[in-house]
Symmetry: C2
Subunit: 116 residues, 2 copies
DNA sequence: ACGATAGTTCGAATATAGTCGAACATTGAA
DNA sequence: TTCAATGTTCGACTATATTCGAACTATCGT
């Protein structure tokens, strides 16, 4: 039988869920990891970025995992740009699906402020 | 040596973190579980409730776990009321610490709406 | 002091997540 | 077509979560 992968072009098609199919729990979970929250914050500020630009010293395989979680939660859209992958927040879509959520999360002070 | 628990009264004091010491990730994580999100929604609607009133058929030990996660994330305050424990949302405090967060989460449509 | 009720804690089993190196895939450029 | 650059996938390991029964604790009423 043919052992070669059929439709190898499918590998480069990066899948994104329709925003309607994303569950609230899923989004909250994706945002609950400090690494991923950091990525989202940076994307919110910088507009878009490659995976490696936001790795914070972590290995590629770890970052790839986190970006996948963000993608599957509908938070991030990834498009291929040459050999790199460009990521951007799905802000407008998220705003429709969960009004105010991203705004509130981005505005929040993540860590406990130092208390005397 | 004295093997008896000293200060056994401390056992009945239910501990709650200061709202300032709660991290955003922690809150998002606590809310990312459907069972806990359901509890929060019910508390938001009903004002307050005992643990067993919201168990949705789950065993006590499981619910106790979820309530502990909610407490440690600063979402819920538990006070003892006779043999029962009364829980209520720490809405005002949460609103100060993470403005708009709880409101937005409660307003959100949790599940994907049916799509034709 | 006893029993009934409501939760907590413990322990063990299972499940899910995060981490990271190594191998692989894709792209564009030389 | 070979190479360097950028991510993805795989596999293994570790860590953390969830679940639930059983034993325990606290509280109130009798």
């Amino acid at each position: 039988m043919n052992e070669r992968p059929v439709l190898s072009f499918a590998m480069r098609m990066i899948q994104h869920p329709a925003i309607e199919d994303v569950a609230l729990s899923q989004v909250l979970y994706a945002l609950s990891d400090p690494v991923r929250l950091g990525v989202v914050r940076q994307l919110a500020q910088g507009g878009e970025a490659t995976c490696s630009a936001l790795d914070a010293g972590r290995p590629k395989s770890s970052m790839s995992h986190h970006f996948r979680v963000l993608r599957e939660a509908g938070l991030v859209r990834t498009r291929t740009d040459g050999p790199a992958h460009m990521n951007e927040l799905r802000r407008d879509e998220l705003e429709r699906r969960f009004p105010g959520l991203l705004t509130v999360v981005l505005a929040a002070q993540a860590e406990a402020p130092g208390r005397t």
